[in-house]
């Protein structure tokens, strides 16, 4: 288990970095798919089976396909968008990010290792998840469904060529 965490963790970080560094949008998207896949594996390690599958199904299987579909539809080639006199801003933003990472590292290295508690069989299963969603979180759940409906309508309206 320990090794699997590090394997998938480093895979996630590596492909995440590649995504940011890649010029080609399709390559970037595929790297993001690898990140999502590794994260789904990490979710399984955290006994979150349902979320792991949803992660694969929705994120990797649907959202990312949509991304790639749009990239192909717009026929975006290699990202030739050169920064125009913005190298300074780039440097600053990278520095800020590195600084934040260092802070994070400091914070975490100072705290002692916190072991995870063992959980029972039912933890993270579809049934439990359904129970929670349809009892305690029913209202948010319904709100989310309205949100999705709004998103569908919005997407259709936006992507349509003309409003007629």
């Amino acid at each position: 288990m320990q090794q699997l965490f590090y394997v998938f963790g480093s895979l996630a970080v590596a492909s995440g970095l590649l995504m940011v560094l890649q010029r080609n949008p399709i390559t970037a998207a595929m790297n993001l798919v690898v990140t999502m896949f590794s994260l789904a594996a990490l979710f399984v390690l955290l006994s979150a089976h349902f979320i792991a599958v949803i992660q694969l199904l929705v994120y990797a299987g649907a959202i990312m396909v949509l991304f790639i579909f749009v990239i192909m539809l717009l026929n975006l080639q290699d990202d030739e968008l050169r920064p125009r006199g913005r190298n300074f801003i780039h440097l600053v933003s990278v520095a800020v990010v590195l600084f934040a990472m260092a802070q994070l590292w400091q914070l975490l290295s100072r705290t002692p290792a916190i072991p995870l508690a063992p959980v029972d069989e039912a933890y993270g299963t579809t049934g439990e998840m359904g129970m929670l969603l349809f009892s305690d979180y029913l209202f948010p759940f319904e709100i989310v469904s309205i949100l999705i409906l709004a998103a569908i309508v919005g997407a259709v309206v936006l992507a349509k060529r003309r409003l007629d």
């Binding site: 798919v33 089976h49 349902f50 199904l57 299987g61 649907a62 949509l66 579909f69 192909m72």
Partner: protein, 368 residues
């Protein structure tokens, strides 16, 4: 636990053996079946020491030919993705079989195991999740080939597979409501029970096709569409797009797309058999033997025999469904791209929703 490890190895071996061989043999079956439909003889050459075995060695000959062919990558293609795409298309299809139970429990030497590689709690969702990854193979193949036909094929395939995944998922909601589980072993086991009306046992098994007849047809349609077989093969429509996303493939990589298609047929057939045709269940056959309908007589059978009969029954159902898909493939013309989309979104999706609502009412009434 060595026993568990041995069982696991055996099950994985069996599944791989089954799926890969079926995929190979399906190539032959497809040729022979189409030949039968079209008043032809079909493949009957490819001898080994003069024995042709009615053309059974043709898949082998194809494989040898594909291996020795030049592996061609177009000049301006994206080499990495062009190479990777067939693998991405094939591997998920193989993986999806892991959660499909091919038999009931098997007891050998006091050790009992469920005949499924991974009995996941999220069973069906896992199959969908994994199969949705196969989309990437197709899309990448289309994009990386640097060919307009491939590109159009990839675009069509991504839109089609994305749409039909949603439709497929929705058609199954009714099944989940009836059996109360996503776990494929539990769904299959629940189908061994009988309809009981007013306390009277009818001895009709609760197969999915009987409890969810509408869902069965909708799911089968959506599943065939998902596997991009005729009449839904617009992504590779040979008369319009030459070969769609795998126009620029040759040799082994071409064969891998081909294999992926056949493996998907097997997976879909297995999934339909498990969800709607009772999986390994044979009517009136229980772990302790054959129960004669409307009586209490039980013809006792050893559990090993029952397990083996279950595996046989499962394979039979898979074969029948494969045959059905092949018959459809050689009978129907191809849809147009927009007609496929219309069918998915405007026909199957609303019908699936209606099915969910109706099932909800019925389940509520029966549980009252």
């Amino acid at each position: 636990m060595p026993a568990e490890a041995i069982f696991m190895a055996g099950k994985i071996g069996f599944v791989f053996f089954l799926v890969l061989n079926l995929a190979g043999v399906l190539g032959w079956v497809e040729r022979k079946q189409s030949a039968l439909m079209q008043d032809r003889i079909g493949a009957n050459r490819a001898p080994i020491f003069g024995i042709t075995a009615i053309g059974l060695f043709h898949p082998l000959a194809d494989a040898i030919k594909a291996f020795t062919k030049e592996d061609f990558i177009p000049a301006r293609a994206h080499k990495l993705f062009h190479t990777l795409a067939p693998f991405i298309a094939l591997v998920p299809a193989l993986t999806a079989f892991a959660v499909i139970p091919f038999g009931d429990t098997l007891t050998i030497g006091g050790e009992t195991t469920q005949l499924v590689v991974a009995d996941l709690d999220v069973g069906v969702l896992f199959v969908f999740a994994i199969m949705s990854l196969a989309t990437f193979g197709v899309v990448l193949a289309g994009w990386s080939s640097y060919n307009n036909y491939s590109m159009l094929g990839g675009l069509r395939a991504s839109a089609q597979m994305l749409s039909y995944e949603i439709v497929m998922g929705l058609t199954l909601v009714g099944v989940f409501m009836v059996y109360g589980s996503l776990q494929l072993t539990e769904i299959a086991r629940a189908q061994g029970e009988y309809f009981v009306f007013g306390g009277v046992n009818t001895w009709i098994p609760k197969w999915g096709i009987l409890t969810q007849p509408l869902a069965f047809f909708l799911f089968l349609t959506a599943a065939v569409a998902e596997s991009k077989r005729l009449p839904f093969d617009v992504a590779e429509a040979e008369s319009e797009l030459v070969a769609g996303y795998f126009t620029e493939y040759s040799g082994m990589k071409f064969l891998m797309f081909w294999m992926a298609e056949f493996v998907e047929i097997v997976v879909i057939s297995a999934l339909v058999a498990t969800l709607f045709l009772g999986g390994w269940q044979i009517p009136w056959l229980h772990p302790d033997g054959l129960h004669v309908p409307f009586t209490a007589i039980v013809v006792g059978l050893p559990s090993l025999v029952v397990s083996m009969m279950g595996v046989g029954a499962f394979l039979m159902k898979v074969f029948v469904l494969i045959w059905l898909q092949m018959t459809i493939r050689w009978t129907l013309p191809r849809f147009r791209y927009d007609q496929i989309m219309r069918l998915g979104w405007k026909m199957i999706l609303p019908l699936a929703l209606v099915n969910v609502v109706l099932t909800g009412f019925v389940v509520l009434l029966l549980n009252r």
